[in-house]
């Protein structure tokens, strides 16, 4: 129970710190939200009036305190640009991005776990070299490029989905799912390759350990040792790695959403930053921070379930 409170406290603290720094960053970069709204033809008087209306003339700390209290009372504010409540703007995009992230996470897991173990079995020899080569290639290709390639191949040539026309998630889920699938695949290629490589080296490391030798000398076959002992030991590292992946997927989705024309959180974030739409940026950044911390927490809990030693330490960092 204490654990849970501590975790919650950490989560809250992280989000507050992140939100503060975001606020601060916007205070420091040039660009004026009032000017962004009024454009090139604005007169100084109009600008001043709007700044006053938007409360931009007030002290920075006061504004932050206001925002924070709003955040905790469930009032996320209004988008400067779209003049609708931030949550109304974000909710549908969040849905799309979460689905995209979830799909690519599943893909990464499904692709990389079996491959990681197999690649150990291959180690040494020509096929291994080819495999490693292929693996590195997958890691090196930027998602942006793969995205364009996929759009062309699966979208324009094979017509599995229609680039430039993302269907509504609710009314035509099937088509939206197909569209998202290729984006998710594109996201998962480099991360899968990294996971495979990570697993491979962990498995190799584990197989050289004394307990493996003991197990084998007691007459167990390699396969059995692998499944019963080695895998379990590899898993904790892999889960931590996958948690990081989970966090990074969201970051990478910014690019992929652009390429595939998916109306998600990443695109909204980029646009909101360039429009100086602080209230929106603020909430997205906090959500991302929450996401990262959440992924870490889940990984810790899972790891503690798998590895009892971690439970004693209380913290697996």
């Amino acid at each position: 129970m204490k654990q849970v409170f501590r975790r919650l406290g950490m989560l809250l603290l992280t989000m507050i710190i992140v939100s503060f720094f975001t606020f601060l960053a916007f205070e420091l970069v040039s660009g004026d939200p009032a000017l962004a709204r009024l454009g090139t033809e604005a007169t100084p008087e109009q600008l001043e009036a709007l700044r006053e209306e938007m409360g931009l003339n007030r002290n920075f700390l006061l504004r932050y305190a206001d925002w924070l209290s709003g955040f905790f009372t469930g009032d996320l504010g209004e988008s400067y640009v779209y003049r609708i409540p931030v949550w109304t703007l974000i909710a549908p995009k969040l849905e799309v991005t979460l689905l995209l992230a979830f799909m690519s996470f599943v893909l990464i897991t499904v692709i990389s776990l079996p491959l990681g173990i197999w690649s150990y079995r291959l180690s040494g020899g020509v096929p291994d070299a080819i495999g490693t080569c292929f693996n590195q290639l997958c890691m090196a290709i930027p998602p942006f490029f793969v995205g364009i390639l996929f759009s062309w191949l699966f979208g324009i040539l094979l017509r599995f989905f229609t680039p430039g026309n993302f269907p509504d998630l609710h009314s035509s889920f099937g088509a939206a799912f197909r569209h998202l699938f290729f984006a998710a695949l594109c996201l998962s290629i480099p991360r899968s390759a990294m996971t495979v490589r990570m697993m491979r080296s962990t498995v190799i490391g584990e197989m050289q350990k004394a307990y493996v030798r003991t197990a084998i000398s007691r007459g167990n076959d390699r396969r059995g040792v692998m499944l019963r002992h080695v895998l379990k030991n590899t898993l904790t590292g892999t889960i931590t790695f996958l948690a990081q992946t989970m966090a990074e997927i969201i970051g990478a989705s910014v690019v992929v959403e652009q390429v595939f024309g998916i109306p998600g959180l990443g695109r909204l974030l980029v646009a909101s930053i360039s429009n100086r739409d602080y209230p929106v940026v603020q909430v997205i950044v906090v959500l991302l921070a929450f996401w990262v911390v959440l992924a870490g927490t889940i990984a810790d809990i899972l790891n503690q379930k798998i590895d009892p030693r971690l439970r004693l330490g209380g913290d697996s960092e």
Binding site: D32, E45, L89, L122, W152, G155, G261, R276
Partner: protein
Amino acid sequence: MKKRILAGILVLVLAAGLCTGCGSSGTSKDPQPTAAETPEATPTRASEITIGIAQDLDSSLDPHHATAAGTKEVMFNIFEGLMKPTASGDLIPAVASDVTVSEDGLTYVFTLRQGLTFHNGDPVEMRDVVFSIERNRDTSSGTALIPALSVIENIEYSDDKLTLTLSEPMAELLNFLTLAILPQDYTEAGKQDTQPVGVGPYRFVSRTAQDSIVFERFEDYWGTPGKLDRVTFRIIENVEGLIQGLQSGALDLVMHMTATQTSQLSSDQFYIEEGSMNLVQALYLNNAEAPFDDVRVRQALSYAIDKRGIIDLAFDGYGIPLGTSMFPSFSKYYDESLTDYYPVDTEKAKELLAEAGYPDGLDMTITVPANYQPHVDAAQVISEQLKAINVNVTIKSVEWQTWLSEVYSDRNFQSTITGLTSDNMTASKLLSRFETNAGNNFTNYSNADYDALWAKASSCPDDAEQTELYRAMERNLTENAANVYIQDMADLVAIRKGLTGLTFYPLYVLDVSTLCWE
């Protein structure tokens, strides 16, 4: 054994991609989605199109508050004013059915068109017209939305007649009266921002932030009705996305493309229309800051920069070279002879630089908004060209918002490349900004002759005389090399074959009412 495993891995990787892809499309009982959409789309296709646009619209869709050119371009279809611009550059009565101007140019009488309704079903009444005009000349917040309307001294109206009395004649008043007429009650309730209502040929249906804007034909439009039932504008911020959208069939029309981009499209499916952007792209110089406070330095740059070279290199030869702050669509005011006022002459440029005290050349910075590729490209070519006269250029690429506040508002720059437009077909807009005290004179151009010409021109009742004054102002800008003028950029539009009726305006607008499928 190992070989088999390797093969297994490769197959698995591919299978993970391909089979799941096929599988997921199979589960929707629709193995060929687009094939299934096509028969469905064919009947509706006759009356529906999707247009790709590269940026989202303004925050507010209220036409009196919208500022971005891209917003006005799209919303042109929703709103109409007392007067309305035509493709040939004339003004015709719209919400007014008739207008008469007195001899002395001081009294304008408009007759309200009978039986008009707004998109929300409300009748268009005189009070809406008066409200819309008053809203734009209201000075209670400091400056009026349209400062030029201050010339209106008195507004009198009955149910069907509106009489405007001016304090002094203004030839361009009707241009400003293209301002959108909005329903008073609805607008005062604050609904225009998100759910705009006007009297134009199309009515606004919905907007999804960063995704799309949907219009439908307004059935009770007073004039020639639109031909398409439904028009969707889809926002796709990156060029690859726009091109793929065209190729995949998701988009039917994309404006503002470059030659390199249109060359990627198959000519079996698309045709390209060439118009011009109606803007003045130039290397704008901060006339108040050294070294550009010296006319000789500005002239030296004008001699050294080869605008045709820029157009050939960075724009595949598309674009009309300019020599002053006016573009050819304003044929009445445009003075073509100024284009080559400064022929390319490196020697002359070096001489001028030496005279100005820079015999060894100088260093300069061009600040460019990074999101406008044409300006970035032009800056790069200029930087190469200026090497010939030992001018060393640093290109500082900034984000649009930074550009707006640092360069445009705070005038904290040495030189910049941008494109300046005129939104309501008033040539004066292009020229007024170079008057010494103009609020938007971001280049800090200051010339007594110019100011005198402007003072005379802005209150000149006679159109012919005013035209001459404008031309004199253009010449003044060129002779003093206020800026290094480059071009009016070409506007290439990719259109799906079968879709016809695109009309170019001397304005930055896209009229969808004339578009139709053959």
